[in-house]
């Protein structure tokens, strides 16, 4: 009897906590589908009286059109994911399977950059990108994002490759396969979970990033979603369209939630691979 009571109170307590943690996100998403006046009603209603996409419609014209800014975020995230996966996988393979002089120093050096926060190199980064005419460019921002992700990606991929038994490659080497063949046909299917983790972290980092986007993009058309929402927050002629802000933030966080829930296992294994000393 007491066991059921204890079990029940555990669930009650834990669920209440869960609601508390999820509340802001749920509340914003819910409110975004309310009719605009209801979204700012005081006292607020809980469930929408009827579902309405008006807030999203009112969000649409901000900046160069919200579709454009969603596209910007998507593009920069794509660049980051593709670039990080490619460079990280290639480098992980290189560090894992090849003994070249300076290999250990270089690996440690790349990892050491994890200790340096990017916030402290933003000023010269801005100047360096300027030299390459990559300021105010989504490609430039994407390259920066890739660079931030590389240490983690290389670490994770090298670990993934290290755990592949060498017998597999030996068979392929005897058959005369080139190193690239081995990578693509033998290793890639095995290290795919690692690649998914790398891609996931790269996407989340790029999609959510704010400071570098504010600093490195100047023309309004190129701004990513988190940055353009500043305009919505500031409002027009002294009034803030709260409904539009709710719609915007829902668009901002929903992809992250979806992607995380789908790929939870890869996220956690990626995290713990980094946290637990190998």
């Amino acid at each position: 009897m007491t066991k059921t009571l204890r079990r029940g109170s555990f669930y009650a307590f834990a669920s209440a906590l869960a609601v508390a943690f999820l509340f802001p996100l749920l509340w914003a998403a819910l409110s975004s589908f309310k009719p605009p006046d209801e979204a700012v009603a005081s006292p607020p209603t809980f469930l929408p009286s009827h579902l309405s996409l008006d807030n999203y419609a009112k969000l649409a014209p901000y900046g160069a059109g919200i579709i454009r800014h969603l596209g910007n975020s998507a593009l920069v995230s794509l660049i980051c994911v593709a670039g990080t996966v490619v460079t990280g996988t290639l480098a992980g393979y290189g560090f894992s399977r090849f003994k070249f002089p300076g290999r250990n120093i270089l690996f440690v050096g790349i990892l050491a950059t994890l200790m340096i926060p990017f916030q402290s190199i933003l000023i010269p980064l801005f100047l360096v990108l300027g030299i390459f005419h990559l300021t105010d460019s989504l490609l430039g921002l994407g390259l920066v994002y890739i660079t931030f992700q590389i240490p983690f990606a290389v670490f994770l991929m090298r670990n993934s490759f290290d755990s592949v038994p060498r017998e597999l490659e030996d068979a392929a080497v005897i058959d005369g396969a080139s190193t690239l063949d081995i990578l693509v046909r033998v290793m890639l299917p095995i290290v795919r979970p690692g690649i998914v983790s790398v891609a996931l972290f790269a996407f989340l980092a790029a999609w959510n990033e704010f400071l570098a986007a504010v600093v490195l993009l100047s023309k309004s058309e190129n701004e990513t979603l988190p940055v353009i929402l500043l305009n919505v927050q500031i409002g027009r002629f002294g009034t803030i369209d709260w409904g539009a802000l709710q719609a915007g933030t829902t668009l901002a966080f929903l992809p992250c939630v979806i992607v995380f829930v789908l790929l939870q296992r890869n996220y956690i294994s990626g995290l713990t691979a980094g946290a637990v000393k190998a």
Partner: protein, 327 residues
């Protein structure tokens, strides 16, 4: 065992590779030379594989890092020529009131957010240790704020803390705790509390996962033995789990402190550093000098100082955890 099955499946599935017959030799001496030569070729291939990553890190990380130091020794305007000023920027930092305000503010922020994140995270980790139906959903719920962007969260909480349309004041009023809506973000103290709450809410799930991993590494026999010896829940945690979690605690602490010191998004979005510049974090001050006032030299000097502070903080924390007697 599953892995071997997968390996076998992969082996069977490899398409026929072209056989380079020139590599097959019957003459041992020639085979030996070929092997040596191919070893060299293989090594160089390794360098090629790591080249793209290395280049990016060099150009977009290592070079800017060195440049930060170099620029900090100059008066560097956006347009026009920089002039060498030696340690002039650093001397100015010492007498810059906003610098000290920001350092003090960021330190207070870290002192509040870090214990909150670590303690609540640890509590949650203990809570979700059991294997019960639905436990994964609970863990996901607690962790979800971590994967959402800090900017999106800040916009949401900005709305929630608003005195006219926000749910927090509406809720507090309906409970009867306050009579008038509070303008949370207009007063430095309440703004501090609000931003601290957001940051703790967002970061707790991360330390929860770190502690989950740490707890998972403690063999179940240890807890069994404690149970057999009659240790209560509190004693088990306090005397057995915590000492074994020392590495994890160190890591969580260091990451939490560094994270607090690097915070920017929430301050920019919630208060723009106000009221009266009282919620300007140290990264915010670097940002302002670099990209609002375009004092690139001074901003870089601030960045160098921040780096040094973080280095010192991490060193102190790691040392204190490893040798608590000496600390």
């Amino acid at each position: 065992m599953r892995e071997f099955g997968g390996v076998r499946a992969i082996l069977h599935g490899i398409p026929k590779l072209r056989i380079d017959r020139s590599l097959i030799r019957t003459d041992h001496r020639v085979a030996g030379t070929k092997w040596l030569a191919s070893l060299g070729r293989r090594d160089i291939a390794g360098v090629l594989y790591v080249m793209p990553a290395t280049l990016l890190v060099l150009v977009l990380f290592a070079v800017p890092l060195i440049l930060t130091g170099w620029i900090s020794l100059h008066d560097w305007p956006l347009i026009g020529d920089p002039t060498f000023s030696g340690l002039g920027n650093y001397k100015y930092i010492a007498s810059d009131p906003q610098f000290w305000t920001s350092i003090w503010f960021t330190t207070r922020f870290a002192l509040v957010v870090t214990p909150g994140t670590v303690l609540i995270g640890f509590g949650l980790a203990l809570l979700v240790r059991r294997v019960l139906p639905g436990i994964v959903a609970l863990r996901t719920a607690y962790f979800l704020p971590v994967v959402v962007g800090m900017s999106a969260c800040s916009y949401i909480w900005y709305w929630m803390f608003n005195d006219r349309v926000g749910i927090i004041d509406a809720g507090l009023k309906s409970i009867g705790l306050i009579r008038q809506p509070t303008e949370w973000l207009a007063d430095p103290t309440t703004a501090f509390i609000a931003i601290a709450v957001i940051t703790i809410w967002k970061s707790t799930g991360f330390s929860m996962v770190m502690f989950m991993v740490g707890l998972h590494e403690i063999p179940e026999e240890v807890f069994e033995a404690a149970r057999v010896d009659g240790a209560g829940a509190f004693q088990t945690v306090w005397r057995i789990a915590l000492p074994l979690l020392r590495q994890t605690i160190a890591l969580v602490l260091v990451l939490a402190v560094i994270g607090s010191f690097l915070a920017f998004d929430q301050f920019y979005i919630m208060t723009r550093g106000g009221p009266q510049n009282q919620t300007i974090s140290i990264v915010y001050w670097i940002f302002a000098n670099g990209f609002v006032y375009y004092r690139l030299g001074y901003g870089s000097a601030l960045a160098v100082v921040l780096l040094l502070i973080l280095l010192v903080l991490s060193a102190i924390q790691l040392r204190a955890i490893r040798h608590p007697a000496e600390a």
